[in-house]
Amino acid sequence: MEKITVKVCTGTTCFVMGGANLQELNDIIAKKYGDKVELTASNCLGLCSINWEYSKAPYVKVNEEVVSEATAEKVIAEIDRQLAK
């Protein structure tokens, strides 16, 4: 099975809208999934300025799937959904 890549946007908007708290994913993912999931930071994904969707920051990409208004729980749920496929 291919690795799942999780990209946390560290752009300004995402960061102040709660992205800063997503650092906790670092520990959670390492513990829960080990090598199966890779967590990386990303510079601005550019999602906040599309179609005035900015109020849905912070954004996280799990593979190609976008998680808006992301929280650690939402990201974990998306990872689990993709792993179950």
Partner: protein
């Protein structure tokens, strides 16, 4: 030519105040630097007050008068004489130099300065001006022309008289001994900065002192004429996006150190020049986003939050271990800093839902430029694009 100036000091053993005082100012528009090193009589608080008064007054005089000679003469004639010892309350060295190399130096009482070019000590001519009011006071006036890579070193007598009376140095280290140490160091590290050289020399003087206890306050003022360290900081997307490619290229062609402050700005340069940007989650520290990486660029940070924090650090002089400190050090390690400031607004930053107020980039940069010029004596250029 850039004039790199720094002074390092050590107190007399067991004293709690410095008896020497150094003051300097840089005028970027006039390409001029003025500096004064003064040695107050005695040591401790009394010497500190005397030296501080002499150097700050002289500096102010030099700033307002165009003629350093006149300013120094006024000070020389007005310094009181110590009742007990019958000598001057303080001695001083003053330098007024321009980036074209023209320099005027006035000395009263301090050891002669040391002028080094290509490993040789030069012996400049001087003019002596006798004080009209005090017989034993005279000042030496030098008009010299500095060249690139020249070094000029001033010191207080604490440095030349260190270890006086010991077997090894019956007359102290003396100017000749200090010259030997300087030349040896310059041979090992020809490009050493003024700050490092002055710190090194003070340390050496302390090591020579018996029991490492300095008998007098010791100061070394070092001047180094060199090429300026230039840096360019690109922040914010250009107002006209059709010019993105032009500015990205201008940025990459810059010869000095380069930094980008802004995720979107980094994305634009990455897109135009086809160089990937990667984020580094491990550098997320404190309350700021971490650093980004891009080939050919020395530093990439998030934009407005980091800049706002950098301004705060620059103003207070204190910093935490985060991206803003890295950006601050990037600025402080340059002599000439240029900002390319994109004027395009990021709509997402002005969303009323954001939990904090985001400053306007232009204003932050203006304030950073001001503090860099006034507090850190840097040359700053800001271009809005």
């Amino acid at each position: 030519m850039f004039i790199d100036i720094a002074c390092s000091q050590k107190k007399k053993y067991n004293q709690n105040a410095y008896g020497d005082f150094f003051a300097s100012n840089r005028f970027p528009n006039m390409n001029r630097v003025v500096a004064v090193l003064s040695d107050g009589l005695g040591s401790g608080i009394k010497a500190n007050i005397l030296a501080c008064m002499t150097s700050t007054m002289l500096l102010k005089f030099m700033e307002s008068h165009s003629d350093i000679e006149k300013s120094c003469e006024i000070i020389m004639n007005s310094l009181p004489v110590c009742k007990v010892r019958g000598i001057s309350y303080s001695t001083f060295s003053a330098i007024d130099c321009f980036e074209d190399g023209k320099a005027k130096i006035v000395e009263e009482g301090n050891p002669d300065f040391i002028w080094i070019r290509n490993g040789e000590v030069l012996k400049p001519e001087f003019q002596t001006i006798q004080s009209k009011d005090f017989k034993n006071r005279k000042m030496k006036v030098y008009n010299i022309k500095l060249e690139k890579y020249d070094r000029v070193i001033f010191c207080s007598d604490g440095a030349t008289q260190v270890a006086m009376g010991t077997k090894e140095y019956p007359l102290g280290l003396e100017r000749s001994g200090l010259i030997k140490i300087i030349l040896k160091k310059l041979e090992q590290e020809p490009e050493i900065s003024s700050k490092d050289l002055s710190e090194f020399l003070v340390k050496q003087v302390e090591l020579i002192a018996p029991n490492r206890e300095l008998k007098d306050d010791t100061s070394i003022l070092s001047i180094y004429c060199r090429d300026p360290r230039e840096s360019l900081i690109f922040t914010g997307p250009p107002f006209h996006s059709e010019k993105d490619s032009f500015y990205a290229k201008t940025f990459m062609d810059f010869k000095g150190k380069k930094a980008i402050s802004g995720g979107t700005t980094a994305n634009i340069i990455s897109r135009e020049l086809n160089i990937p940007v990667v984020a580094d989650m491990s550098t997320n520290r404190g309350k700021l986003p971490g650093l980004l990486k891009m080939d050919g660029v020395d530093l990439v940070t998030e934009g407005i939050l980091t800049l706002t924090k950098t301004l705060e650090y620059l103003q207070s002089g204190q910093s935490d271990d985060d991206a803003a400190r890295v950006l601050m050090n990037f600025m402080l390690n340059s002599d000439v800093i240029s900002f390319l400031v994109g004027a395009q607004m990021n709509k997402a930053h002005y969303d009323p839902n954001l939990p904090i107020e985001i400053e306007i980039r232009k204003n932050i940069i203006k304030q950073i430029a001001k503090v860099l010029e006034e507090k850190y004596l840097k040359k700053v250029e800001v271009q809005f694009i």
